[in-house]
């Protein structure tokens, strides 16, 4: 995605007051306390284990660290994690 495309998308999103996840192909991450994480609009599950889950999105990765993590449900672009969540970390591509 070229730079000017990005800029136009940002501008359209602002102008029409659209949700940024739709416009910018970014993941929407919802957490319920520290027990559930609901991730939409991701592009792939990279790795998961009891204490770490890595998810790919358009512009990088999301790293979720916790204890006793498990995937409650996995759909094409949705992911529901449960367990004891400690942190959600973004690792954008350079």
């Amino acid at each position: 995605m070229t730079k000017w495309q990005k800029q136009i998308r940002t501008w359209i999103g602002r102008y029409f007051d659209l949700p940024s996840d739709v416009m910018l192909d970014l993941p929407r991450i919802t957490t319920i306390g520290s027990i559930h994480v609901y991730i939409e609009n991701h592009t792939g599950l990279l790795h998961f284990s009891d204490n770490e889950v890595r998810i790919q999105y358009k512009r990088g990765q999301v790293k979720i660290i916790g204890k006793d993590l498990g995937v409650k449900m996995m759909l094409k672009e949705e992911l529901l994690l449960e367990g004891e969540i400690k942190s959600v970390e973004f690792l954008p591509e350079a």
Binding site: G44, L45, F48, S49, V71, K72, M73, M74, L75, K76
Partner: protein, 395 residues
């Protein structure tokens, strides 16, 4: 959530184990093909356990080679698996099928036939005819004739039936019959006279057809002509005579009645004895020591067990022993006379039939001798004494 769980229940879901080095890409590929994976749990570096839908098993199988994963099923849940489990249990299936068949058979068995509106003889006749059509309790109603056919057949086979309605109600047949009332249409209308059946004094005459020969207060002898079919004297115009001639007749009743009567009365004490009957063999069950001596009156009661029209060879017989007490009653002459009149009147009424009417009774004689009462009664009766006698015409 419940919807999803219901769906999973009906379509079936399974718990599987995935082994391999590329578990995440494998899962990602499956999900991209539209699968839904739930409850994923990492066991170790190269193993994960998850729940998938039965219908997605195919996708997993197809993709497993590409990602070099090993799949194994841990358990299956939901209807398709239950179904397989049940079908694998032969005895259970057999019992289920059998019960279905039994219920079907019972529901299609004819259990009772109810016939209404007919005399007992005709009812028995109808039942017999039904049996020959294969319609009787205990038979299967599949393959039986249609109620309409049965109705038509019954009407054809039993001429006494005016109409019969055949109704099938569940497992029973209900029949409503109407009997033909016979009107004697072929009455013999040959020329005839009316003659007296017995001696009497005419009280009333009503000759419908023919020429009356007697009038009220005439005394007639037995066999005397009361009316004739010869309408005009000495001419050959002969008709059938019909009519009624009421006459006063007399009956004498002789009775010998005892003064003392012994009445056997039960005093309320009852003992029972039970016996089991197997064929012609009788086994005492209980109370065989009871009922000895002559002071008891016995009554038998026997069961008549039947199974599907088949008579059971085993029956229970109960004998009731009632203790009786003989009592002597001496009665007065007047009382005996009263009783005598009542019984004589009753028996005379039976002998004469409904149409006759007892007008008056009179005690002719009442005497006591050797503990007995001799009673002679005279009854005055009004009855129809006319009987038809055909005129022989000599041809």
């Amino acid at each position: 959530m419940t919807m999803k769980m219901q769906r999973d229940f009906f379509q079936g879901s399974m718990r599987i184990k995935v082994q391999g080095k590329m578990i995440e890409p494998f899962l990602q590929a499956c999900v991209r093909r539209g699968s839904v994976i739930s409850n994923i749990k990492r066991v170790n570096e190269h193993e994960a356990v998850m729940t998938i839908r039965l219908s997605e098993w195919k996708t997993f199988r197809q993709l497993r080679r590409k990602y070099r994963c090993k799949l194994s099923i841990l358990e299956g849940r939901g209807l398709p698996f239950y179904y397989r489990k049940i079908t694998q249990r032969k005895a259970l299936m057999a019992a289920f099928m059998l019960s279905v068949i039994v219920v079907f058979l019972l529901a299609n068995t004819l259990w009772s036939i109810k016939i209404e509106g007919l005399t007992p003889e005709l009812e028995a006749n109808v039942e017999k005819k039904l049996k020959t059509y294969g319609v009787s309790p205990g038979k299967m109603s599949i393959g039986m004739d249609d109620p309409n056919d049965i109705q038509r057949k019954l009407l054809d086979d039993i001429p006494e039936l005016l109409w019969i309605g055949v109704n099938k109600k569940g497992t029973s047949y209900q029949l409503y019959g109407v009997e033909k009332t016979r009107h004697d249409t072929n009455k013999n209308l040959r020329p005839s006279d009316l003659v007296a059946e017995k001696k009497g004094m005419i009280v009333k005459t009503f000759i419908e057809k023919g020429r009356p020969l007697v009038t009220v207060n005439d005394v007639v002898k037995k066999g005397q002509k009361l009316a004739t079919g010869q309408l005009v004297e000495d001419k050959d115009i002969l008709v059938h005579t019909e009519g009624e001639v009421i006459a006063e007749t007399w009956y004498k009743v002789d009775q010998n009645l005892p003064m003392n009567q012994v009445l056997l009365l039960t005093d309320g004490l009852e003992v029972r004895e039970y016996q089991l009957k197997i064929g012609s063999l009788t086994l005492p069950l209980w109370g065989w020591w009871e009922g000895e001596g002559s002071q008891f009156r016995s009554e038998n009661e026997e069961t008549n067990w039947e199974w599907f029209g088949w008579k059971s060879p085993i029956d229970l017989k109960a004998i009731h022993h009632y203790e009786v007490d003989g009592k002597k009653y001496a009665q007065s002459k007047n009382k005996i006379q009263e009783l005598g009149i009542i019984t004589a009147r009753e028996s005379l009424n039976q002998y004469l039939g409904k149409e006759a009417e007892i007008m008056k009774e009179k005690v002719l004689h009442l005497r006591e001798e050797n503990g007995k009462v001799k009673l002679i009664l005279l009854f005055k009766v009004h009855e129809n004494i006319a009987v038809t006698k055909y005129i022989s015409q000599g041809d």
